[in-house]
């Protein structure tokens, strides 16, 4: 299957932070294609340990989070509109006018709106002022959409020029796909490595998924794979990457500098397009938690550049996923003894 179709299959799956069972089921099926052991953690992360004959190389882990942002119903108004809270960081401005899917007893189509005030102060938009219209009366809504029901952006993929794609949940299904591509290549090349893959839950909310999975299976060396910001309007250019220019190799005090340098060297040696992401503090990804597991893990961060992060129309260039997979595959090979 082509990279794009595979990516869309992953983005189609509804699994918001804290309720990852759908994506877990799908990934379990994918992992059955490889020889190794699948462990599911209490918090719904998946650990996959490759069978290996030699164990001299350091224990390497690849990590990507599998949850996505979303919302949860916290109240129903007299008119039958839903009030919502967020799961993950969302700009409430982005929500206005969105078509969403409400996972009640059945799926409902909803529209987010804000009632207009007569006062001039209406310019400021807060999540608590937003309502979701599901075209139901209060009684119907209460019966069909229990408080706590989940709400997600709709799945609406759009092809753009230069093999760019816009769809929901590229954060972080594109990284999940990069790891699956790496596994495929390992199988094809019959690479004997001491490798563990962690697909972690709850990154967007508690980061509990990686904390517990890494505790359960502490690696020596880890690569966290996530998405990061690509250049668009009004962003400081030196801090972010460019779409289509390859994976972003993270440089940050929390990351292991030698691993970052090694990634750069491997990219240059193999002529893999790449860019640097310079962060003067924590990375705001799972890498930050991975680093401090038990007595510490040497961690690096590789990110796929995307635009419009945390909106229903996230945007990336397909080849950035393939280059990310390629870079990390060669990185793994470099540990072969």
């Amino acid at each position: 299957m082509k990279t794009k179709e595979k990516l869309l299959d992953l983005c189609k799956i509804n699994s918001i932070s804290g309720d990852e069972k759908n994506i877990v089921n799908q990934l379990e099926k994918e992992l059955e294609n490889y020889s190794g052991k699948i462990i599911k953690t209490q918090l719904n992360s998946i650990i996959f340990k490759f069978n290996t004959s030699k164990t001299k190389s350091p224990k390497i882990a690849l990590e990507a989070h599998i949850d996505t942002i979303g919302f949860i119903v916290n109240n129903i108004t007299e008119e039958g509109f839903l009030k919502i809270s967020n799961l993950g960081g969302i700009d409430p401005k982005v929500l206005i006018s969105q078509e969403v899917i409400v996972l009640g007893k059945e799926n409902f189509v909803g529209f987010v709106f804000k009632e207009e005030n007569d006062e001039a102060s209406e310019e400021k938009i807060k999540l608590e002022d937003l309502l979701v219209d599901v075209n139901l009366t209060k009684e119907e809504a209460e019966k069909n959409i229990p408080i706590g029901s989940q709400i997600l952006f709709k799945f609406n993929p759009i092809d753009l020029k230069n093999n760019q794609l816009s769809v929901r949940f590229l954060d972080n299904r594109s990284s999940v796909l990069a790891i699956l591509l790496i596994l495929e290549k390992i199988k094809k090349e019959n690479l004997d490595v001491n490798l563990t893959v962690i697909f972690s839950s709850q990154e967007e909310t508690t980061q509990g998924g990686i904390k517990t999975a890494a505790y359960l299976n502490k690696p020596d060396v880890a690569v966290s794979v996530d998405v990061s910001f690509a250049k668009s309007l009004n962003c400081k250019e030196e801090l972010i990457g460019e779409i289509g220019a390859g994976p972003l190799i993270g440089i940050s005090p929390i990351l292991d500098r030698n691993l970052s340098l090694k990634l750069i060297e491997i990219a240059e040696k193999n002529k893999i397009p790449h860019q640097l992401e310079i962060m003067n503090g924590p990375t705001r990804t799972n890498a930050d938690e991975l680093v401090t597991t038990k007595d510490g893990v040497l961690t690096s961060l590789v990110s796929i550049p995307i635009k419009n992060m945390h909106t229903p129309t996230e945007l990336l260039e397909i080849k950035d996923i393939e280059n990310t997979a390629n870079l990390i595959y060669n990185f793994i090979c470099s540990f072969k003894k």
Binding site: F111, K161, C235, I240, H310, L315
Partner: protein
Amino acid sequence: MEKILKKLCSVNSPSSSEEEIVKEIVKMLPKSCKTHIDNLGNLIVFKNPKNEEEKKVVVTANLDEDGLMVTKINEDGSLNFQPLGNLKNSNCLIGSVVSLNNKLDGIIVTKPVHLQTTEERENLTKFEDLLIETGCKTKKEAETFIKLGDILNFKNNFKKINENCYKSNFIGDMACCSVLIKLLQNETNFSFTAVFIAKEKAISNSSKTAAYFVKPALAITLKPFNIIKNKDYKLENKILAPIYEEKLKHNEELLNLLEETAKENKISLEKLVLKNSSNETALNIASSCNGVKTISLHIPYKKYHPNATIKKENILNMFTLTKAFLEKINNFNFNS
């Protein structure tokens, strides 16, 4: 009716680019209808035309949708734009898919929430702070598809949400157009003139030329009414007949006749005063030639911009009421 509505919603008609939808409507009309397209793009259709002397009844609906106009092509291939029409809130555009008549798709890009300053996070985004990305990487590449001043439409997305509810961008005006088409298709012997108004969103006075051309004695404007904006949720299942809209008082005698018609047809009609909403079409027609009597029928819908939903039942009621009213006023004495 659903078939007509679906077809209309599948055709792009951003304000001032209505040629395609006009073509589609003409295709749907019976051969007996006489059509005319005026210099501003308004489509005028005569049903059962009688002699010139006869006083004419006009029924109008708006053809166009909000659009976006390309104002700059940037070096990196992205596009700057300004809205065309009533779009006031730029934030509702994020997540929308736009296209140059399906030849080139684009999405609207904003600064990610993680990188916004506190001030940016709290305040509405300006149109200037949004971009359209089409995937083109250079100005040169973008220019092979698009030029300054091109008008982009919102990508259409008609969907039946449930048995009684349709969804599409700008579905309110398209529902009014569907009613008008259905009236033209109806095998009745009353005569009227249908006017499908172009460019209404962008310039608001395009109905003037149509009124001048037809010289009606009486006009009925069919319009959508956004109950979300007005928080009038209790009006959701009614047809609305404004007594007064900003600057314009509608004809009392006709309103009474309308109320009577609604009662006879068991249609829930609400007469109301809309002090903060203007009806430019009715205003323009009312003061055309030597003056025209007007009434307006509003169909409630919910607009989230650009997404909108409308109830099937309301569309059918609007059709039944307008048809019955047209039959009734065939015997109306206009000079009274």
